[in-house]
Structures are given as structure tokens and as C-alpha cells.
């Protein structure tokens, strides 16, 4: 079944096939496969879900149901940098909301959105467990702690120029 997303990149497709072969016989294979598929493609395009459905013999509706149930799976491509601002309790009582407001203002997008240039995606995440550094945000794997709204513009501009 050669559909657009799958046919566009044969290397990624080969990786996906490998992952499915690796987990296929295991009980409860769907979650690990979706995790890995998202690592490969950056998101879970419908074509990929369809292919997994055929390979595992699970109805597409079930796969779509799982993919949309968990907040870490995404059906939309993300920006180059994903900004996750922690909205856990410790961060919230220390002013995470104000940092988030500032991020929305600086990036001019809402939570869950991606900037038009495809550079930034803004997420309000669950507790990152770095409560000692509250309030905290992550840009991809880099953690920024003890933030105040005044820090935001400086941090974002570093990534803009890259």
C-alpha cells in the first residue's frame, strides 16, 4: 500500500516496518509501536495509523482511539522546537501562568498551536517533576528553571536566530 506519507520517505518506512516486526508478536504491542512510530515521523499521520492497523490486524478505529486518548500522541506535525511549560501545582503556585501568558504574547500563538514558520509549538504540560526549579519549561530537551516572565523574550530570541 503505497500512500503519500509512507512512499515519500522510504528510509522512515523501512524503520517503521522494522519496529512493527520487532513488537508484532508481543502482547500489548500497540503502545510501544505508536511511541516508536511517532519518534520516526514526528507525529502519527493517518497513513501510518492505517498501515499499523493492517499489519497488526487491529481496526483503524481502535488505533485512532488510542492515538487520540493519550496526550503525548499527536496527529499534527510539531514545530522544530516544542516549548513545554510545566503547569504542575508547584510551578502554578510559583507563577507559571504568568510565564505562559508571556510565551503566548511573544510567540503570538495559543497553547497547542505552532507558529506559521513551523519553528515553535507551545504546549502546557503536566508536571515535569523538576519542582525544585519551579516554574520550569522545556524547549525540546533543554530545561529552563526558576523562570520569570522577563526571561522569556531572551530565551526565545536565542532559538529564533538559529
Amino acid at each position: 500500500m503505497a500512500t503519500s506519507v509512507l512512499a515519500n520517505d522510504s528510509q522512515k518506512f523501512a524503520e517503521l516496518q522494522k519496529v512493527i516486526a520487532q513488537y508484532k508478536e508481543q502482547e500489548g504491542a500497540l503502545m510501544p509501536i505508536l511511541h516508536r512510530a511517532q519518534e520516526i515521523y514526528g507525529y502519527l499521520p493517518l497513513d501510518v495509523q492505517n498501515y499499523i492497523a493492517e499489519e497488526l490486524g487491529i481496526p483503524l478505529t481502535d488505533i485512532y482511539g488510542v492515538a487520540t486518548f493519550y496526550s503525548q500522541f499527536t496527529l499534527k506535525p510539531k514545530g522544530k522546537y516544542t516549548i513545554g511549560i510545566c503547569m504542575g501545582t508547584a510551578c502554578y503556585v510559583k507563577g507559571a501562568q504568568k510565564v505562559l501568558d508571556k510565551l503566548q504574547e511573544v510567540l503570538n500563538i495559543g497553547v497547542g498551536d505552532t507558529t506559521d514558520d513551523g519553528k515553535f509549538t507551545l504546549d502546557a504540560t503536566r508536571c515535569l517533576g523538576a519542582c525544585g526549579l519551579a516554574p520550569v519549561m522545556m524547549i525540546n530537551d533543554q530545561v529552563y528553571g526558576r523562570l520569570s516572565p522577563d526571561d522569556i523574550e531572551g530565551i526565545i530570541s536565542k532559538y529564533k536566530d538559529e
Partner: protein, 598 residues
């Protein structure tokens, strides 16, 4: 094992890693190499020391010098002064780790550690979690050896039952009973699962154990497998914890290599293996039936109980499910005996509890105390009190399922039952401190917002009921509250508690109920006086110029974008609250701090 004259322990927990401890470790290795000391001094990446507030933390032994907030630029100095010349860099020591005579206190003497009793965290910050030999050197896998070679499965279960250990995940169900139910369940195949889906915001106890001492959990699960008759284990861990996942993966591989997982462990004929399963960001998966659905690769939706997991769990087989901290206690109970464990704690809650201290507190971090310790001891003696001389208002325990504990209960000895009695719950152990600047209605709204977002949608009381509650709270914080809204909240709460399907829904109203119980006056101020006493709820704030402080410079009026400020030069100005859009610019611009919001 090679001999080293000094050890440099660097915290590799999430908190310290976030503030750059990995680069610090690399720098130490570089600098030691430069001085030719790489064979004399060893750098160890450990798990969490607990005192995240002053991270990154570096402790140098044999002296036990506790360096805090270490920056990469400090490393050459520590190496050349301390490790080469033997002169401790006093400027970098944690302030409470030195005596008045400038000598180093032992860690047990430091205020933060003095009242603590580290059982579940015993190896965190002590050993290298990526090295199984270090775990073994600290009696690791000795309990497994004892269980497999000297005890019958029934004896193991009796030991756990006698110890009085209760589940550390929240509800506090006696662990030994769960083990017995699973053992007695009929089935050809059984599973042992570990709930490491620590979803409560502000809780990071389990993460620190997995990062700092992963083998203790593997060892305990294997003991549990032997006791209940299972040969397969699953650890369901949050995908948000990359370091924990990495260390668990390493630990499982090492245990397999040493024959501590796999076939015929300790030549006993007992087989057991463990697999990791990653969550994908759904709070409800911390609920046991939802967690099992997720392991099976389905949507994480809870189902009614009974049947309980002990009878029908993962893949419909009898399953034992405990959380990380519960397991971390098991090896020591086996080694030291149930009587030893029973001497710690209160009458009905034995042992210790790990709390994640966060919010408005000086020593943010991870603490472990015997059950029965009071909140006051935790917050003021271990936690170092509230920053900025502010007044304590409430402590939130139990996350979105728990409640807020006000100042009048600061002296309550904490255990499962006392917390329930005062309208909160133990939960997994998040403890968030709030001061006078936090609005309790806003906090209740924050938690409801969380549960509405995380409700799986299966049962209407939770899906619809919590949303109605959130709407009422939104109304109140935006100044549109009406008489009777509090009563409506209480009625909804009562009905949701009685009718929701799972623990998430049944406890979702708790943050609202407990804040109404202790801070009803704040709700009433929002509703009747349209006032937020803590000055948090934006819609209810008013900006006021204090006439005595105003010098009449006119700067505020010049900057006001809606011309809401008027007055004559050199005389106090006033703000027209009807025109004011509450942007706060005037307050920012006033050079005399004459503008306040309340």
C-alpha cells in the same frame, strides 16, 4: 574493586540534571585528568540527594563536603583547592552544612536531613544507579536470595502482612493482603506490575527512587513474583521521565546479565523477568484498571471493580499491582524482619513516607520521614519555612484527589487516617505549600481544570459533573458568582463522589470541598464582595493610588492606555475603576510604590 582516596558524588536526579549536573561531571573528569588524578579520585553520578532547592549538588568524600549550586566554573577550583591541596572551598558549601567554627557537619546534623529517616530513599544519592555492583555492595539482592532460598512464598507473604506495610500510592491498602489475594487467585499465569505512572502534579518521589535506586524495585518485584506465583513483571512508567526510563533499562539488562532476572534465579528453579511499558500522558492511567488497559495497548479507561486485579488483571490474569515506593520498602522488610518495620510509624501506619516538598517553601525537595511526623516539623524544621517571611496559609497533599490543610492542623501527626479525617489524603506524597499570596478559590479551580482535562470521559458524573463544577468556579473567580453557588458546588461534589466510576472521579471534588471547608470566607468574599483577598483573581482586582504616598508626578496618568487616571500635578491622583482595564502598567511605572492592587 580499585581503591580511590576520594569520591566526588554528583547528583544526577532530574532537578540537578536540569540545572547542568551532566556538564559538571564531564568537567570534573576533565580537570582530574589534567591533574593526573583520574586513578585516585572517582566521580560518581548518583540519584537524588533530596535538597533540589540548592542543586546542582556535589558531595566530596571522605570529608563529606556539601557543595551547593555548583556552577561549571567552580569545578577547577574544587579540584585544584580541595582535591589537590586538601583545602575545602568554604565559599561553595551549603550554608547549613558548616558549624559556627567552620567545620563540616555530618549530613545527619544538617537541618534538612536531621529529622529524616531514609528507608525507601536509602540508596538515593549514595550509589551509582547505573552500576549493579554498587547496589549489591549495599546489601542489594540479598533479600531476594533470602526469600528464594530460605523462605516459602507463604512466609514471604506473612512477613509483608505482619510488617503492616500499606500501599504508598494513595489509598493505603495493606500490601500483604493484596499479595495474599493474588497468591490465592486461581490462574495458570499471573503478573506482577509496578505502577510508576506518577501523575500527581508536584509529586516526584517515585521518579527519584527509579532514578536513584532502580534495582530496589526490580528486586522487590522479583520477590513479589516468587510470593504470588508470577513469572512476568511489567513496570508502567511515565514517558515524561526519560532519565528514569533510561536507568531502568540499564538496570534490567544488568540484572539479566547477573542472572538476577531470567531463568532459575539463585538456582531455585524460579523464573522471573520484567518488561518496561511506557505511558503516553494520561493521568487516569495511574488508576489500576486503567493502567492495565494501557499495558494491554488499549485506551486507558477504568472499569468497575470487582473483579479486582488480584482476580482479573492484565490480559485477564490475576495481577499484583503496587507502586514504586511500596516496592522500595520490601527488600528491607525481608532482611530486617517485620518487627523492625513495625517499630517505625504510628499505630495504623507503619514505616516512613516520602514527600515531595514544593511551592512556597525554602527547601524544595524530597524528604522521607517516619509516619506520625507533623506538618509543622516537615515544613518548618526540614523544609526551612516559607520564603520572604510570608505567612503559611495551607499545605496541599494528595494532588487533585486530596485537599488543603490549613494552619490549625499544622500539628496533626501525619498518617493515612489522620489526613483523611481532616479532609485531605496521603495520596502519593506531593506536598505543596501555599502562603498568603495564594488564593484558595483559584487553587481549587486549578485542580478542577486539571481533572476536567484528564477525565477519560467514560462515566457521566466525572465527564459532565466536574465540568459543571469548573464552570461554577470560573464564574466565581471572574466576579460573577451568585448566592447559592457554594451550595451548588457542595451538592455536585457529593453526587460525583457517590457515583463516579473510578478513584479519579470519586476524589475529583476533594480540592473544592476542602477549600470550602477551611476557607469558606474566601469564597464568600469573591461572591458577595467581588473581592479576592489574596489579590490573585485578575477580574476582581482593583488598582488604587494611596494618597499619602502619591507625589503627584503624573507618570501613571501619562502611561495609562485608557486614560483612567486623572489628577492635578503635585496632588494625589486617582484611578477611575470603571475605566481601568487592570493592565498594571501604572503600578509598574510609579516610582514611589504608591499604587497597590487589592
Amino acid at each position: 574493586m580499585e581503591f580511590y582516596r576520594a569520591h566526588v558524588l554528583v547528583c544526577g536526579g532530574t532537578g540537578c540534571t536540569s540545572s547542568g549536573s551532566t556538564d559538571i561531571i564531564d568537567k570534573f573528569n576533565d580537570e582530574l585528568q589534567k591533574h593526573g588524578l583520574q586513578n585516585e579520585i572517582m566521580v560518581v553520578r548518583t540519584g537524588c540527594f533530596g535538597l533540589c532547592e540548592v542543586g546542582p549538588i556535589v558531595i566530596v568524600y571522605p570529608e563529606g563536603a556539601f557543595y551547593s549550586r555548583v556552577e561549571i566554573g567552580d569545578v577547577p577550583e574544587i579540584v585544584s583547592e580541595h582535591l589537590v591541596k586538601g583545602r575545602i572551598v568554604t565559599r561553595l558549601l551549603y550554608h547549613d552544612s558548616i558549624t559556627e567554627e567552620e567545620t563540616i557537619k555530618s549530613l545527619d546534623e544538617v537541618g534538612f536531613y536531621k529529622k529524616q529517616m531514609r528507608l525507601a530513599l536509602r540508596n538515593c544519592g549514595v550509589i551509582d544507579p547505573e552500576n549493579i555492583d554498587e547496589y549489591i555492595a549495599f546489601d542489594g539482592y540479598k533479600a531476594l536470595g533470602k526469600a528464594l532460598t530460605e523462605m516459602t512464598p507463604d512466609q514471604v507473604i506473612d512477613t509483608i502482612k505482619e510488617s503492616g506495610l500499606r500501599g504508598r500510592g494513595g489509598a493505603g491498602f495493606p500490601a500483604g493482603l493484596k499479595w495474599e489475594f493474588t497468591r490465592n487467585a486461581v490462574g495458570d499465569k499471573k503478573y506482577v506490575c509496578c505502577n510508576a505512572d506518577e501523575g500527581d502534579p508536584g509529586a516526584f518521589m517515585d521518579r527519584s527512587i527509579l532514578e536513584g535506586d532502580p534495582h530496589s524495585v526490580l528486586e522487590a518485584m522479583t520477590i513479589a513474583g516468587y510470593a504470588v506465583g508470577a513469572d512476568q513483571g511489567y513496570i508502567y512508567v511515565r514517558a515524561e521521565y526519560p532519565i528514569a526510563v533510561k536507568r531502568l533499562t540499564i538496570a534490567i539488562a544488568q540484572a539479566r546479565q547477573y542472572g538476577l532476572l531470567g531463568k532459575n534465579i539463585f538456582d531455585s528453579g524460579f523464573n522471573f523477568d520484567i518488561e518496561l511499558r511506557l505511558g503516553a500522558g494520561a493521568f487516569v492511567c495511574g488508576e489500576e484498571t486503567a493502567l492495565m488497559a494501557s499495558i494491554e495497548g488499549r485506551r486507558g479507561e477504568p472499569r468497575p471493580r470487582p473483579p479486582f486485579p488480584a482476580v482479573k488483571g492484565v490480559f485477564s490474569k490475576p495481577t499484583l499491582l503496587n507502586n514504586v515506593e511500596t516496592y522500595a520498602n520490601i527488600p528491607q522488610i525481608i532482611l530486617n524482619g517485620p518487627e523492625w518495620f513495625r517499630t517505625i510509624g504510628t499505630e495504623k501506619s507503619k514505616g516512613t513516607k516520602v514527600f515531595a516538598l514544593g511551592g512556597k517553601i525554602n527547601n524544595t525537595g524530597l524528604v522521607e520521614v517516619p509516619m506520625g511526623t507533623t506538618l509543622r516539623e516537615i515544613i518548618y524544621e526540614i523544609g526551612g519555612g516559607i520564603p520572604g517571611g510570608k505567612e503559611f496559609k495551607a499545605a496541599q497533599t494528595g494532588g487533585p484527589s486530596g485537599g488543603c490543610i490549613p494552619a490549625q492542623h499544622l500539628d496533626t501527626p501525619i498518617d493515612y487516617d489522620s489526613l483523611t479525617q481532616i479532609g485531605s489524603m496521603m495520596g502519593s506524597g506531593g506536598l505543596i505549600v501555599m502562603d498568603e499570596d495564594n488564593c484558595m478559590v483559584d487553587i481549587a479551580r486549578f485542580f478542577l481544570d486539571f481533572t476536567v482535562d484528564e477525565s477519560c470521559g467514560k462515566c457521566p458524573p466525572c465527564r459532565i459533573g466536574t465540568r459543571r463544577m469548573l464552570e461554577l468556579l470560573d464564574k466565581i473567580v471572574s466576579g460573577k458568582g451568585e448566592e447559592g453557588d457554594i451550595e451548588k458546588l457542595e451538592l455536585l461534589a457529593k453526587n460525583i463522589k457517590a457515583s463516579a466510576l473510578c478513584g479519579l472521579g470519586q476524589t475529583a471534588p476533594n480540592p473544592v470541598l476542602s477549600t470550602i471547608r477551611y476557607f469558606r470566607d474566601e469564597y464568600e468574599a469573591h461572591i458577595k464582595e467581588k473581592r479576592c483577598p489574596a489579590g490573585v483573581c485578575q477580574a476582581l482586582l482593583r488598582y488604587i493610588i494611596v494618597a499619602e504616598l502619591c507625589k503627584g508626578c503624573g507618570l501613571c496618568a501619562k502611561h495609562c492606555p485608557v486614560e483612567a487616571i486623572s489628577g492635578e500635578r503635585r496632588k494625589p491622583y486617582t484611578i477611575d475603576t470603571d475605566k481601568c482595564i487592570k493592565c498594571g502598567l501604572c503600578m509598574e511605572k510609579c516610582p514611589f510604590n504608591a499604587i497597590i492592587k487589592k
